[in-house]
């Protein structure tokens, strides 16, 4: 096992899958010679050549549209959209085609493609480089939406995404790319899509989050333990859509209290869906209204104010204590 950053772990997933399966094609802007602007595809063009790794012209819509054609032919395209802020240029290809070619062709054509793209704030970036718009994709029928929270699960989920029979939007947190290292086994490892994980056990409160927000969430859980003597259960969604609710409902039936955390804007965000499911299926077990800690319903400000925009441990603690205080 080697200690890897998320960038290295994603690179490993791509490299091993490409070695194993010649249907896997990587394409996107600057993914070849430059190795991707975050270096996730570093070295792939050297190893596999320019028929497996395509440095494309600058056109997101074409990158995704071409991937759809490749996938329908039977290949396994993994395209990179340089920043999720530029994935709206390809939105129509996903919404109109990738997510529904199976449906439209009555199963004759399918689109087993992965769209990898960095998302989220916290890296002092320019405008359009910090947003979290997972709700757009999660709202699209026929699409899977995955957001890993660390090097090891990123690698294992990307492997599954590449093998998935349906299109997967794979959000990679820029803030996590190089934030920390984890042991990542050299041997293949895959994590099923659609299975949230309980990453900390507790009886008093359930904290539900994903992606970059897992770190402040876990930090908050630890502080609740240390300073309040509260045992928080923490669930990492990993797959946003389709949302697997069972583990969430089980947990909330046990704790009776929940806080949902994401950096995406609040209204119509993933937390809204999670809270609805809990209302529908665990209402009689709730001891307090569910709280959410989210980004605000505004464009994420330029980097000097983004810290105040992004949820942090303090905000999560405040919400958790509010939920705990209610009876």
């Amino acid at each position: 096992m080697a200690k890897m950053t998320m960038v290295q772990a994603l690179n490993l997933a791509l490299q091993q899958e490409m070695e194993k399966d010649d249907r896997v094609i990587v394409l996107g802007e600057d993914v070849g010679v430059d190795g991707g602007v975050f270096r996730v595809t570093d070295g792939l063009i050297k190893q596999f050549g320019d028929q497996r790794v395509l440095d494309t012209p600058l056109a997101e819509s074409a990158i995704v549209g071409m991937s759809i054609g490749m996938a329908a032919y039977g290949l396994r395209p993994v395209c990179e959209i340089q920043f999720s802020g530029f994935s709206y240029q390809n939105f129509h290809q996903i919404e109109n085609h990738a997510a529904r070619l199976r449906w439209r062709s009555r199963g004759r054509f399918t689109v087993p493609m992965v769209l990898r793209t960095p998302y989220g704030g916290g890296v002092r970036a320019l405008e359009h480089h910090s947003e979290s718009r997972e709700a757009y994709w999660a709202h699209t029928p026929g699409l899977k939406m995955v957001i890993p929270s660390g090097p090891r699960n990123a690698r294992a989920l990307l492997v599954s995404a590449m093998r998935d029979p349906d299109p997967v939007i794979f959000y990679e947190s820029k803030a996590l790319y190089r934030a920390f290292r984890e042991e990542v086994p050299e041997a293949e490892e895959a994590l099923p899509i659609g299975e949230p994980q309980r990453v900390r056990e507790g009886e008093d409160l359930t904290l539900i989050s994903y992606g970059a927000m897992m770190r402040p969430t876990l930090e908050a859980a630890q502080q609740l333990q240390d300073t309040d003597g509260i045992a928080a259960e923490v669930i990492d969604l990993l797959t946003i859509s389709p949302l697997a609710e069972k583990i969430l409902i089980q947990s909330v039936k046990k704790t009776g209290r929940a806080v949902v955390i994401h950096e995406a804007p609040r209204s119509f965000g993933p937390a809204a869906e999670i809270m609805s499911r809990l209302m529908e299926k665990a209402f009689y077990y709730l001891e307090a209204p569910i709280e959410r800690v989210t980004g605000y319903d505004i464009v994420i400000p330029l980097f000097n104010r983004e810290k105040a925009y992004l949820p942090n441990t303090e905000r999560i603690l405040r919400a958790a204590r509010k939920v705990l205080a209610a009876s």
Binding site: V33, D34, G35, L58, S61, G85, Q89, Y296, N304, K307
Partner: protein, 368 residues
């Protein structure tokens, strides 16, 4: 019907007036008033020196990521110089020289690059759009602006900037098509700086020129030496006249070069050679223009140095002022501004929530 060649009335031309050795084609030399020449030179030097200073500020962590313009000053200034204040400028994200010409303050550039939304404030008397980062997405706005000006029977024109990479986006083709179909007064200025991050223009398109793309849409296209300010100026003059007199849009391809990194987050050594950069350094637009001015007897070494030290002082003053201004900026609560004309109640609630949270953590900070 036999097979025959179809003639297209529009043409693609190439234009160079002051070559890289500083040799002038006098027959083509545009007639530029002396004060305009001085102003062009001063702004070119200012843009160059400012770019250098921004780079050092970035390296010192005093501003964030930014996109240097070094090498592209002539392409920007030779075009923008033709706009009247009421005309519209619709930039991409690498047009600092053009923005300075239009009167954007150095302070605002620093403040923006240091992550404060305040740096985008545009004075009411300037018809300049803020920078647009999503590649290729802004050109069509110039078409809308131009159409609206025509609708209001004004002879204002819209000039929009973009790179070679942007010509691969569908948005580029749509913008050219709309502009031509509606005969809008738009000047499309492509800064072909040879690279779109790590992708050379030869991998961006199989077209021999970018200018020829105009023909497909039924508008004239011209390829100019973008490091030759006289050629850029002459081509833009024609294009602006055409637009202003109701004869529709033009595409100008300025062949230039990005001498520095894509942005300060980029390492160009991964994809291009030092030799290539050195070759383009030989074609730097600034010394070429200075030689022209000296040959014309308009500039001397002393005068140039005097202008330069004046500029350096101006930049220093701007940095000091910007840093002072920034001390008073950044109240997080301002992030809710300008979302809607009228703030919806749900957003007011979120704003109050943040206000409350901020004062609580200030309290906790005091306690702790």
């Amino acid at each position: 019907m036999p097979r025959k060649k179809i003639t297209i009335s529009e043409k693609v031309e190439a234009l160079s007036i002051l070559d890289e050795k500083g040799r002038l084609d006098e027959k083509l030399e545009p007639d530029i008033a002396e004060d305009v020449l001085f102003q062009l030179h001063r702004t070119m030097l200012l843009a160059r020196k400012f770019d250098e200073r921004l780079l050092s500020l970035q390296r010192q962590g005093r501003i964030g990521t930014f996109a240097p313009i070094k090498g592209q000053e002539a392409a920007q200034l030779g075009t923008i110089a033709h706009l009247r204040p009421g005309d519209w400028m619709v930039p991409a994200f690498r047009e600092t020289a053009a923005e300075l010409w239009r009167g954007r303050s150095l302070e605002s550039v620093i403040i923006y690059n240091n992550g404060f939304n305040e740096g985008v404030a545009i004075p009411d008397d300037r018809n300049d759009f803020p920078i647009s980062v999503p590649v290729g997405s802004q050109m069509i706005h110039a078409v809308g602006l131009g159409w609206a000006a025509k609708y209001r029977q004004k002879d204002d024109v819209a000039m929009t900037y973009f790179g070679d990479g942007a010509t691969s986006q569908g948005d580029f083709h749509e913008a050219l098509n709309f502009a031509a179909v509606f005969q809008t007064p738009v000047i499309f200025v492509c800064q072909n700086n040879q690279w779109a991050i790590s992708i050379p223009v030869s991998q961006q398109t199989r077209s021999k020129t970018l200018a020829q793309k105009a023909l497909a849409y039924g508008m004239p296209g011209i390829q100019v030496d973008g490091n030759d300010i006289l050629a850029v100026y002459a081509a833009a003059q024609e294009a602006v006249q055409r637009a202003r007199s109701g004869d529709g849009p033009t595409l100008i391809e300025c062949v230039t070069y990005r001498l520095l990194m894509h942005t300060t987050a980029d390492d160009p050594k991964r994809y291009r050679t030092d030799e290539e950069v050195e070759q383009w350094n030989q074609r730097d637009p600034l010394p070429r223009f200075e030689k022209y001015l000296i040959d014309k007897g308009l500039l001397t070494e002393e005068k140039r140095n005097a202008v330069e030290s004046e500029i350096l002082e101006e930049i220093q003053t701007a940095i000091d002022r910007a840093e002072k201004q920034m001390e008073a900026m950044g109240d997080p609560i301002d992030m809710f501004d300008n979302t809607f004309a009228e703030m919806p109640s749900s957003l007011k609630e979120q704003k109050e929530e943040l206000t409350h949270a901020l004062s609580e953590s200030a309290e906790e900070g005091k306690d702790g």
